[in-house]
């Protein structure tokens, strides 16, 4: 049985400008000790998915409108707020994107760390402090006794993220969700922080979800990857397989839009044209269709389900042998994936049907 099991999760935001369809039925499983990457561009629902799992969506706008989240056999969506609070930090912890704003500016590091520990364990101040020093040492902060008394603004971004990691791992949670933990950091610090995260989660056997838009980050860190687009998982596979055989046009596009050191001289970068869909509209058809070079007429009207790439394969959702699945009517062939564009003779992406075209014209002035 999986440690975390998300099934058909739907999250919407009710705003003055209408309903934002942030997550539109996301399902995935995670085993104990497994590391899963969630990739996708800004606004595709990565962070919202993780906040929904933690039940930390901004109230009252953000609502979980469907699906289930089971963690360790418990239905998280049915838990009371008090039960959730017990679980947060102790069983599931989270690291946020911006370490510059994730620590309270008016409290010392010590107060914040001790508070985290004492929220879940009946320990005295001295004991909690000792544990805090121990944690800071583990995450590689020099002179932890002195640094404990410092305020967040006296730390650099990398140091603050180390503090955040120390706090997240203070109670040895079973699951760690890292939401773009290195996006706000210098490239040189990124590697250190990632290495630290990887070492600590491996040592403690903590399962991890790493959310990022950086494929380079997930490549070395995760066992499996979910690629998200506009609130859907469009492709999921073990990491090596995803990089070797990308099967969804969006994944192909992502891989071709990052520069590679080992690229053949003169090989061009192929950006993904256009912008993600306006999520104020209820999704119709494949969300990627407007930007896709492989689209068929069907893509405008029917959203393809997430199915195994190799048809008739039994679906395994977790572990190294997880089934490679994707949601596409017209997946690129291996050759096309390598080239980054359709190679079929005379193939032209299907033009939008008139109804959709009208609607697109309305949205894109």
């Amino acid at each position: 049985m999986a440690l975390l099991s998300v099934d058909g999760l739907v999250v919407r935001f009710r705003t003055h400008e209408g309903t934002i369809h942030a997550v539109n039925g996301v399902s995935f499983d995670l085993d104990e000790g497994e590391t899963l990457g969630i990739v996708g561009e800004s606004g595709c629902g990565k962070s919202v998915t993780s906040l929904a799992i933690m039940r930390l969506l901004p109230k009252p706008a953000g609502r979980i409108e469907g699906g289930t989240v089971r963690f360790d056999g418990q239905d998280l969506l049915a838990c009371s707020e008090a039960e959730m609070r017990e679980m947060r930090g102790r069983d599931i912890a989270m690291i946020f994107q911006d370490p510059m704003t994730s620590l309270n500016p008016v409290l010392t590091i010590e107060e914040q760390m001790v508070e985290t520990i004492q929220a879940h364990r009946k320990v005295g101040n001295e004991e909690a402090r000792t544990r805090a020093i121990e944690l800071l040492t583990i995450v590689g902060i020099p002179q932890p006794e002195n640094r404990l008394r410092a305020f967040p603004h006296q730390f650099s971004g990398g140091m603050r993220q180390r503090v955040m990691i120390a706090m997240a791992l203070a109670l040895e949670p079973k699951l760690l969700i890292a939401d773009e933990p290195t996006t706000a950091l210098d490239v040189t610090i990124q590697a250190q922080v990632l290495e630290l995260l990887q070492r600590l989660t491996t040592e403690t056997g903590t399962a991890a979800i790493l959310i990022t838009h950086d494929l380079g980050v997930v490549a070395g860190m995760t066992q499996r990857i979910n690629v998200m687009y506009a609130g859907y998982i469009v492709e999921t596979a073990p990491t090596a397989e995803l990089f070797a055989k990308p099967s969804h046009p969006y994944t192909v596009g992502l891989l071709h839009s990052i520069p590679r050191l080992d690229a053949v001289q003169g090989e061009e970068l192929i950006p993904i044209e256009g912008a993600p869909p306006d999520q104020r509209r209820a999704p119709v058809g494949c969300p990627f269709a407007p930007r896709c070079a492989w689209r068929l007429p069907d893509c405008w009207t029917t959203n393809p389900p997430l199915v195994p790439v190799r048809a008739a394969e039994a679906v395994v959702t977790t572990g190294p042998g997880a089934t490679h699945r994707m949601a596409c009517h017209n997946p690129p062939t291996a050759g096309e994936a390598a080239a980054g564009r359709p190679l079929r003779e005379g193939f032209v992406a299907a033009p939008p049907p008139s109804a959709v075209a009208d609607e697109l014209a309305l949205v894109v002035p």
Partner: protein, 296 residues
Amino acid sequence: MTAPSVAIARVAPRASRGLWGDAARRLLRNRVAMVGVVFIVLFAGTAIFASWIAPYDPNAGALANSLQAPSSAHFMGTDIQGRDELSRVLYGARISLLVGLGSVIVGVFLGGTIGAIAGAVGGRVDNVLMRVVDVLLAIPGILLAIGIVAWLDRGLPQITIAVAVTNAPIFARLLRGGLLAVREADYVVAARSVGVPSRRLLLRHMLPNSLTPIIVAATLALATAIIDVAGLGFLGLGPADPRTAEWGTMLQDSTKFLRSAQYLIFFPGLAIVISAVGFNLLGDGLRESLDPRLKK
């Protein structure tokens, strides 16, 4: 030639002055605010030491000395009853400081509680409380204060309450707004994500981060409170005992001698201006030093 030595000392990090320390440093460098502080010190010192520095009893007067112009014996002259104006101005500072400070403290407490409940509970409670606050804000402050004093009768505690009630809605608004602003702040969500209890979340994480506008507003409110108290006195709603030296009442009494004894209106007026300007300058300075975004 000696090689430049690169000694990387393992110094302990400088003891932090923290957020407040930095703000204090910025405030000390603000000349205008320091002028305000001088005014306030003058005002508060006068109020506290009035009984030592006043040359005469503020209520003792001989009709023979009535309406004397300023002289070496009576630095600010005497009023119609022959009482020393200087002593009365000095004692008047007591009333202003006491009632002004008292009303702001009560106002912050009252408004802060309402704002904290509204901001923390939210929903319908928030809606109802804020509409009440809106109604109070719609009534001009001095008018509301007059109404309350007329209702509760004259007297210093009544004036304190009246001025407090006129100030409270501003504090309620400010604190509620501050709490709403930090409710979704990264560090609050982060604290929730490690399971910090909601009571603690409010008291330790949200409140301290929404207090700065309250501090600024309270300082500025002191200036308004002093003027309001004087205003009530001027309108005849001052202290219950008409003999009490109170600046507004003194102004009112002196209007009858506007042509013959202008000094009687000048000195209490000056006292009101100095104390009110002092708090205004300090309030502006505090706003600048506590909010780095306003730095020029």
